[in-house]
Structure formats: C-alpha cells, structure tokens
Symmetry: C2
Subunit: 456 residues, 2 copies
C-alpha cells in the first residue's frame, strides 16, 4: 500500500480548521460539504501537504479537480460519507501520521531588525516598507508555537541596505544582554546584507555561544501569497531549539520549493540571487544542517561545527575599512585615496588567484608603509587565493598584502573591521586574518563544493 | 557486443606513434612488443582514450596492469600475435571508429596576448611566466592541425591582470585588420580578466561578425601534466571552424574532467573559481554550445545566437569608468571622490535587487547633476536588478541611476566604458545601457539557470 507521509498537525491542517475537522471526525478520503454563507462545496477531503498560512481546506471535486476552499469562523463543515483516499490508479493510500515531539520548554527569542520578513506594502506608493513589531510577526505565523516558546522584541527598524558596523555593535550587545534567558536566538533581518551582519555576529562570539543564533528573513513580502516568511521562521525555530551547535547561521529556503531549509555557516554564506527563495548558498563550505519544517526535523550535514559553550564576546568593529574590487583599467587613485584619507584597512577583490595589475603594486606598498593592512580575496568567490603561483602575486606578497585564503570578500571585510578594533599592529592583524576563528577559512575543499551549472 | 567509442585518430594514437602502429598493422587487442634501447615491454595494445600530448603507448601487461610506454623515433614496435580486446568478464569489445570529417580549408588565426595557456615555469623563481610565441604554442599542440589550417601571431605579451581598455582597443583593431583572411579567430588570453576582454570585443562587433571569435586560455601551466591547454585549444579550433554563429565566446572546460568544453557567450560568462578547469560558467544565460573535442563534435545548446554577418566594428573605450562595490558601512567619500575627480561613469554592485544605503543617495544625485551616469548591478550576480520593489530602490531611480537589468557587474563596466566613447548624453547613455546589444541582457530567465549546490 502506498504510504503518504504528512506532517504532524491534523493531516496538514492547523488551528481553527483542524478543530472543525476533528469535531466532525473527518479524515482525508471522507466526502464532506463546506458551506460558506449561501455557497456550498461538496468533495473529498484531501490532506494539505503544501505549507501555507492561508485558511483553506483542499477538496477533490467530483470532476477530479482539487480546489482550496477558504474557511472562516462561520464556515459549516459536514461529514457526508466516510471514505478512503486512493491514487489515480485506484490504489488505497494510507496516511502515516508523524509523532509530535516538541522540544521541552525550549525558549527562543526573536530579535527584529527590519527587512522583508516583517514588511508590508505601502499602499500609497506600492512599494514594500518594513513593519517591525516582532509580536505581530509571531502572531502572523502561529505554527512556530507548536515547537517552542517564542518571545519577540524589536531592537532596530531599518532596511538592511542601511545596516552598518554601528548597528552590528547594537545587535551584538543585545544578543549578549538577552541570550542568558533563552536556548536560542532568531534575528529577523533584511536579506540584502544579512550575510554581512551574521558574520559580524560570528566573529564577536567566535570564542563561545551557549546555543544557535539564527539569522532569517524573507525574499518575498509576507503579505504576498508566495511569501517564504512562514517556512523560514518555522525552520529557524527548529534550528534555534534543536541544533546541537553554538554557532551563528543563516536559515533560508534550500530549494525554490517548500521542501527543506538550510542552515548555512554565517561566515560562508552569500546571497547569490536577487529574488529566488533559495538565494542564500554556502560558498567553499557545506551547510551546517538541513531542516524539514513539516516534519520538525533537523539533519546535521556538516559535522565540523562548534559545540555549545559559555558565551564569550569580543565586541567592536572599526568603521574605517573599505572593500574594493579590482577591474581591468583600474587606476591607482582609488587605493591612493583610501590611504590618503587614513582608512584603517582595505579588502580587495582581485582576479583569479587574487591578482591586481602590476601598475597598482606601488599603491599597495604605500598602504603597507602607512600601516594600512590590505587583504586580498578573489572575485571568483569559489576557490582559494594563492599569490605564490605567478610573479604578480609574489610581488604583491612582497608589498605586504595578506592573502585571504578562501574567505568570501564580504567576510574578509567584516573580519578586518572586527580585527582592527582589537589591534592596529600589522603582524597581529596578519595573524588574525590567517587564523580560522569562526569557520571563515575552510582548509579542505571537496570537489562537490562547486555547484553544478545547467549545460544543456 | 560492447561497443567502445574511440576518437577519430588511430585508436586514440596520433602522429609518429600512429604511423608506427599502422606500419605493422597493429590494432588494440593485438599482442605487441616495444623495444626502447635494451628495455623491452610485451603486452596487449590498448586504445588510448585519455587525451594527452605525451608520446606513450598503453599496454596491458600479462599481470593485468596497464602501463604507458614512452615512444621515441628509435622505439621498435613488433606485432607478436593478432588478438581481440575483451572486457574483464571476457566479453569481446568492438572498437567503433568515428569518421573523420575535417572542415574543408577552414582557416583559423590564433592571436596570442599572454597568459597561462602560453606560460612556462620560471626556474629561477619557481613562478609561472608567460611565453608568447603562438607558433610555439601550436607546435606544442599539433592535434589542432587535424581540424583546421591554423596560423598564429603574437599581438601582445602581458599578464591578463595587466589588461586594460587601451589593450582592448589594440585587440579589436587587430581583429578587424586580420579577420578578413580567416574563417574564425582564437584569442589566447590569461584567464583572470578574459571575460572582461571578451565582452569588450563583443560590444565593438555587436553589429556584425563574419564568424566566431573564441577566447581561450588555461587554468594550469602548459608544462604541467594536468594542463588543460590542449583540450581548450582543440575545442576552440572546433568552435572557430564549425560554429554557425557570428559571436564572441569563451571556450573552456565544461567539467573538471576531459569530457566536454563549453562555448559561453562573452557578455554572460564569469570566472567563478580560482583554480578549477571548469572555472568559467555562464551566469543568467545558457552557454551557446557544448564541444566534444575527442569526437570533433559541436552541439548548439542555445539557439538564440547571432548569425554570421559582415564585420561592422564600433571601436573605442572610455578609460575613466569605475566599478565599485557597495558594502554595509560604506561612506559617501568613494562616490564623491569619483565625482570630484571627473570620472565619466560609475558602475555599482549593489545588494539584492540593487540597493545601496539611503545615506549614499545624495552622492548619486551629485553624480547625476555632474552628468556622470551611475549603473546599478547586483553583487548577487544571479537574477535581475529591480529598483521598483522597495522604497530605497525608488529613491535611487529618482536620483537618476540606471538599473543594469541582469547584466554582470563586470559586463556593465565594460559596456559603460564602450558606451561612453560613443556618447556623453545622459539619455543616450541610458538607452544604450537598457538595450540588449551583445546578449548582455537576457529577458527570459529559466529556473534551471540557477546552479545546483551540494546540500548533503
């Protein structure tokens, strides 16, 4: 017999609808009627597999089509005839209900910072604006309460494109102040700069975290039907309450469908698409865990995670760091400008193994003489910087640059900002940058870390 | 019967070795002896499937192991016994030889510019340095001569990280001057900035090309055993001689193994890995063609290519364009510096849909008032800029920025440099940037364009 696995709620139904169905003892396969005012629908009750906060019951009509019927408090549902679900071929389908195993008394705090996950359309301009009362957010996604005791608090209300190192300070102070009373934290954050902020938090708490800190957000406004908010918030609640690690991660859709979410290590994740729900992907590392929110399941896929430890923060960021990109024809003036204007550090996205034009090496030397560290990363994103292969790279090393290993340019920028608030000594900076502190350097690259492109 | 497909040379053997084997009428399965001076090897002749420029014959020894025996002019090969290749299970193997269909009298010109494909180790420092006589290059890879009549010429001898818009001029002038006498061109180029140069050439010849212009290079030095030079050069020769399009493309390994190469549209390709052989991948578009060099086969996978036409160049690049990347905490000073220093145009890699901080919008307005066009792309690389969704984007549009559609930041930089040498009129610049000229804007994104990451 075909077994259809459904989630641990009432055949996929939640709250008021589940109550109404239980009251009349209706299960999928039964023939029921739904009355909404003077409209009536008769059909076979179907299990609801697709996760949705919409209040609908799925009916298979006599003509074979499935429809979703909107249910409100006044809807009347009647059981007309008990029945049995079958496949198209007429084979009976057995519904296997999963056990509910909520983590006991896990306490989660959601800190709101702004962004699409808590946004609504501004009906005046048609644009999306943030709304930021996290209590409203939790109220909009009551399913998370099945897993955990969640409280919510707003600490910031900005678009993520306006995020900056001062706000990183504010966020990390709040985490330190509040984590004590909770088992895990969720930071609701706009997706644009979420990876930067998540890695900032990862460096501050690289010496110890008592549980997971989960950054999450939404690629679609939560009042749109295709919103990914609920899926991501529930997946985040699972990670915050169940994950065995004391790490900072980003939890977002793993695929474009509602199949699973991924928990990416904060220092290795990057937003790789402007709009897809699975825009966040790990670069040069395997994600930490895969989450199946319908089953409440968390699967660790990267075992080299940090264990939970006492919280041990190292606060502070330097906001005089620049991230620039090398391009053919770039002249010396931009680097010279940064040196002249007493920037404290520079991260360069070089080409290939980390090269920039030989013409610019003078400017690198000037930076070094002015005690401004220059960290080299690669605009290829994948792979590892290596300045020993070609003569240009060797000249760059002689000019004192720090090769950024396999760090993402964005992570190297955040790390240098954090390092510069600890020390301005050039040797110490170099040691910090070359030491893996928060998973930002992965010494072992497997072939499968490189994604597979469509090749016809 | 198992059929083993082998390439169109003599069971995988070329040149002198093929001649020696034909002379004694030896075919795979036959038992032969090879004498090198006073060393003798007896074994079963095996077909040579792996492409290699090394002069070896593969023998299966009596103990079952395969070895490669190096052959030189003086090696003596004798047929000891005719035989039949079998599988491990003893099943006979039939060797199916492919027909040779060399394109008739196709003339290809290789223009050398430098880079790893023509590099050798500097034994003094251990670093790799370019050597740039393309005749030497062709001599090192004689197999290309089986497909085409190839001539070679050196027009530049630089590392690709030293490439700049002045050299783009030099390369495009050379192409125009020389293409007339050839059916296709191959530009040997260092991989670091190859995509930038290829798209520069694509914009200059966007109105017409009489045949393919193929950029190729190597991720490994050609004197290392794992070099990809030969595979890439042969694949490029196939594209240059057989491809039906009049487009500029980049031809490099499609996978890390020697299975197939890909021809990527110049304006949609990006180096995505520091060291892998399949580092070049198409972003937001399907590659133009797949090439199987061992079979001499080219398969078009993207039918929306430009047909061959009379060559019609529009030369020139403006070298006062900057490409900068937005990051959280970026201050106004970098954009202000570019405006104050009379840069002619700026391309910004924004976050997500193309956002930058609201604090920087004043600087965008200053740029617009100074008639400096600002083009917005996204650091996510995949997807399309959309400044209409959120209020920050709408303010940026009001400040006069040009949304870069789904263009790669690097392509937008090259295009703006090319456009600014045509016009300085702000409206004309905008029209140019929003019009698809060389495949740089793809209006139709299929889901499969996004690569598949490893998710455990």
């Amino acid at each position: 017999m075909l077994e259809l696995k459904i989630n641990e709620f009432y055949f996929g139904y939640y709250g008021m609808i589940a109550d109404k169905l239980k009251e009349i003892n209706a299960a999928p396969g039964d023939y029921i009627s739904i009355k909404n005012g003077n409209k009536q629908f008769n059909g076979t009750l179907m299990p609801k597999n697709e996760f949705s906060k919409e209040d609908i019951i799925v009916l298979k009509l006599d003509n074979g089509y499935n429809i979703g019927v909107k249910i409100n408090e006044k809807s009347e549902i009647q059981l007309l005839k008990k029945g049995q679900l079958t496949t198209h071929a007429g084979e009976p389908v057995k519904l296997v209900e999963k056990e509910i195993t909520p983590p006991e008394n896990k306490r989660i705090l959601v800190l709101g910072t702004g962004g699409t996950i808590a946004s609504r359309v501004d009906y005046e301009t048609g644009a999306v604006k943030p709304y930021l009362d996290p209590n409203e957010l939790v109220a909009a996604v009551p399913e998370v309460l099945n897993y955990t005791n969640i409280e919510a608090e707003e600490i910031l209300s900005i678009f993520s494109e306006d995020m900056n190192p001062k706000y990183w300070d504010l966020i990390t102070y709040n985490i330190f102040k509040k984590f004590n009373d909770y088992d895990g934290l969720i930071i609701a954050h706009g997706t644009d700069t979420m990876a930067y902020t998540a890695s900032a938090v990862a460096f501050v708490f690289n010496k110890g975290l008592k549980g997971p800190i989960v950054f999450t957000g939404s690629q679609r406004s939560s009042d749109r039907p295709s919103s990914d908010s609920a899926f991501n918030i529930i997946s985040s609640a699972i990670v915050a309450s169940k994950a065995p690690f004391g790490e900072v991660c980003v939890v977002m859709h793993g695929e474009t469908s509602d199949s699973y979410a991924l928990a990416h290590r904060a220092t290795k994740v990057r937003k790789m698409h402007t709009s897809r729900r699975d825009a966040f992907q790990s670069i040069n590392d395997i994600p930490l865990a895969k989450i199946y929110p319908f089953e409440g399941k968390l699967e660790i896929i990267n075992k080299s995670y940090k264990e939970k430890k006492d919280i041990n923060p190292e606060f502070g960021f330097d906001d005089r760091v620049a991230l620039i990109k090398y391009y053919p024809g770039m002249s010396n003036d931009i680097i010279d400008f940064l040196v002249d204007n007493k920037y404290h550090g520079i991260v360069i996205e070089g080409t290939g193994f980390g090269h920039i034009s030989n013409r610019l090496i003078d400017s690198l030397e000037r930076a070094y003489e002015s005690e401004i560290p220059v960290v080299i990363t690669s605009q290829t994103l994948f792979g590892r910087v290596n300045l020993n292969v070609y003569s240009t790279g060797r000249k760059m090393l002689q000019a004192g640059v720090i090769p950024g290993e396999d760090m993402l340019p964005e992570t190297a920028y955040v790390k240098l900002s954090w390092v510069l608030s600890r020390t301005r000594n050039m040797n110490e900076i170099k040691n910090y940058m070359l030491t893996n502190l928060a998973g930002e350097i992965n010494l072992r690259h497997e072939l499968r870390l490189y994604p597979r492109w469509y090749h016809g």
